[in-house]
Symmetry: C2
């Protein structure tokens, strides 16, 4: 690393998405254009608080001029209680207030040893149960930034937004304001069932490009949506089909179809709950990783919804950009 390199780069600010397992960082110029990128497989689950600064410097140290300090805006699990520094949840105000628009005023500063850094962490959102039962206790951390990015791009957005993942979030937005959200543990449920349950013996990695696997997947979606109460019976049915169903091929395709069916059942259970209040054919925005969004898109389109997919990184950068512009300058 040489001073000339730093002088060449000199980002206006740095955006960081720091999750449970990974760190992604972008150097941005004064017009929020990406001038450099970095990533590392180091997330909250494997880091003690005192390790964060070193990991961040390994990723972005080359971008930093000696002075003045560079703004680093962090979203995600780095702000969890078990993360770098806890960034207290901002309570969702389902009424008139624009909760997403207030994120920039509620950043948590982090004290660093390296004077070239000025780090602040975006809060997650929490939702308290409503006496009328209309909303339930819930939390998100990281997704609020992506939702803020969606609103930065589409200021008056209204509708349902789904952010697939280990814990999928379904948010409701009205005229650019978040009015409520629900987390579904489907991703974790699928992992547990496919890796740790009796079903693991019956499964083989699926591929929805295959017509038979896609049909098995969609049959799983339809089955779970039609009778969500039978879910734990349909789960054991995967095992029973493996033992008894003579129509299944006797090679890897057997496990592929059963894995596709399991994936469909678990997602169908989520859709039974998440789409219950949506009008038929209404639009759903997906924000997330490409492969997982594709899986959701196939199921939602099959069920008649209109689907629009936005890439994860785009929404994070748009969201951190909006928060960065709304942020009062840090006082040294």
């Amino acid at each position: 690393m040489s001073e000339s390199t730093n002088a060449t780069l000199a980002p206006a600010w740095i955006a960081v998405d720091w999750g449970s397992s990974n760190l992604r960082a972008w150097a941005l110029d004064a017009d929020d254009r990406v001038i450099a990128e970095a990533s590392a497989p180091r997330g909250m689950l494997g880091l003690a608080p005192e390790a964060y600064e070193g990991v961040l410097l390994e990723a972005v140290g080359d971008w930093l001029p000696a002075a003045p300090p560079t703004e680093v805006l962090v979203c995600g699990m780095a702000g969890a209680r078990q993360g770098w520094v806890e960034a207290a949840y901002l309570p969702l105000d389902a009424g008139a207030n624009d909760t997403l628009g207030r994120l920039g005023g509620r950043l948590t500063p982090v004290t660093t040893r390296d004077a070239r850094l000025r780090v602040r962490i975006v809060p997650g959102l929490c939702q308290h149960a409503m006496p009328d039962g209309g909303e339930a206790f819930d939390v998100m951390r990281g997704e609020e930034t992506q939702l803020s990015g969606l609103v930065a791009r589409h200021p008056d957005f209204s509708g349902a937004v789904c952010l697939p993942g280990t814990h999928a979030k379904w948010a409701r937005l009205e005229a650019g304001r978040i009015t409520g959200f629900t987390t579904f543990m489907s991703g974790e449920l699928y992992q547990l069932l496919s890796q740790d349950s009796v079903l693991k013996h019956s499964l083989h990695a699926d591929d929805l490009d295959d017509a038979a696997q896609r049909a098995a997947y969609l049959d799983g979606v339809d089955t779970a949506m039609a009778a969500p109460g039978r879910l734990s019976a349909e789960l054991f049915g995967i095992r029973a089909r493996d033992l008894l169903d003579a129509s299944l091929p006797r090679d890897a395709r057997r496990g592929e179809r059963l894995a596709a069916r399991l994936s469909g059942l678990v997602l169908g259970l989520e859709l039974a709950g998440a789409t219950a209040t949506l009008a038929p054919g209404s639009p759903v925005v997906l924000i997330g990783a490409e492969a997982l969004c594709r899986r959701y898109r196939i199921a939602l389109a099959h069920r008649g919804f209109t689907v629009d997919v936005h890439a994860n990184a785009d929404m994070i950068l748009a969201g951190l950009g909006r928060i960065h512009r709304a942020t009062p300058p840090a006082t040294p």
Copy 2:
């Protein structure tokens, strides 16, 4: 072990329930009265086929006279493909045939090195999917013997029978004949969620004798039954409540109530499916371990069903007794 001891005991036959994790054996006289019992923590999951005979002899060897060979009737997972010797499933005939009454004619003999043993294994039942969708692929192994025991005690029994466990079975009987059954993976689902998911940090062993825990349990049952499609959202809600719910106590009672709620949610999902076709207030027979049956009984009674509980061991002995009496003598 002395010959005189053997001569004193000399059982007419031996009943064995050999499951995934445990073996239980009973020595019976000519009137099917229990004259000795044994058990061992050795089941299918930890035994290679060649190890079964030695484990059986450790448990019952003291009971065996030198001659003639003693009948040993085995039910359970020892007859699985991964067990001692595979005892092929008997296909359930939902029509006029008495499937449970035919178990004794379909035993699988096991060749043993020790000439004092004459071992035979009871088949499990399999159910093939019906074109009309009325039944689905399913299997049971061990529970068929308990159902046979129920019919031995109540020859014209009609109604719903639930056998709780890792994979709970719900069977439908008409005039002593089984007409169909459904397996729910709820027990395994609860284990995965409570031991391996993000929820494990929020839980503490529950006790339904405590009024607040019982209320949390029943609220979980009602919540899942009212909206089974929201199950994976309610699961994450356990975590969110732990983070946010100010009404929960800040000590171990917090985790106890959340564990009770989780247990209620998972059982409620099962009951949503299993009781959907039962008339309000109709009777449900439970066969199983005491603590688990109690948990089911509390939920079923709360939902208005009439519950009758039968002990596991009683039904196994009655079932193996019925099968033993119906068994053609083994030919050497």
